[in-house]
Amino acid sequence: MGLFAAFLVILSINLRYIPMSLSATQPLRTSAPRRFFMAHWLADESYATEHANDDFKARAIIRCGILLFWVASTVAGVMVSSHLPASVSKTLAGLTFPVNAILVALSFSHVANYCSHKLEARARRALLAGGCFVAALLLMRLLGAKYFWLPSIGVSYWLLMPARAAAVKP
């Protein structure tokens, strides 16, 4: 695969970070160098762990902490893997479920919190969230896992917006 093709594939897989950055880093009131590093350290895990009212310090600790643990756990994994019995290595090879499970769990807690907000009927928000989930699966099927992100996030945002607007109507 040529370099440009590789760049496009990696870019399409990471497009989801654009809305994440808009909502999690862009609002931060800080200097340009600090904003640069905070933006670069944004990850799925940090986005799912942070809360809307977290200040700069809390977000910096979360993002730096996750980055450091990535490095440390990768080094530890390489060191340990050479000592594992073959049967255990075979079981653990390619095991991505724990990573996906923790992302799902963190994301679900945010969605559940949104659905339980007292400003609007829980059932309506839960139904809308369910609709967004189905739409995401359909778009993933249609566009593929690499390219569905921005259209699907856009559809979800559009579906959820009327619920929010209705909730804050005087």
Binding site: A39, A101, V104, Y157
Partner: protein
């Protein structure tokens, strides 16, 4: 570091610049309502899609094990919150490992 590794780092940094760094410097005048939506609704939209992506990824690989494990994960998160995040993920992962080898 090999040339290939340096090229990979350069590509990853270029992507990060485009999708993470530049959007964080964007200065657009949004209305109060839009700013509020970006702060509250947009993250929920992203999280729902993250859930869809992660579950579809695992179910695509091993449907029965993934479905059962995610089912347990959601059941524990809704019904038995004192298990905690790590306990919930640990139990669900254990179920997945035990079931994935089954025919």
């Amino acid at each position: 570091m090999t040339r290939g590794a340096l090229t990979g780092v350069a590509i990853l940094f270029a992507v990060s610049l485009l999708v993470r760094i530049i959007p964080s410097f964007v200065r657009v005048s949004f209305s109060d309502q839009t700013r509020d939506n970006i702060r509250t609704v947009l993250p929920v939209a992203v999280f729902i899609n993250l859930i869809a992506y992660c579950t579809a990824n695992e179910i695509g690989g091993n449907a029965a094990a993934a479905a059962a494990s995610f089912g347990l994960l959601f059941a524990l998160m809704i019904g038995v919150k004192r298990v905690g995040l790590l306990g919930t993920v640990g139990l669900a992962s254990l179920v997945f490992v035990l079931l994935k080898g089954q025919p």
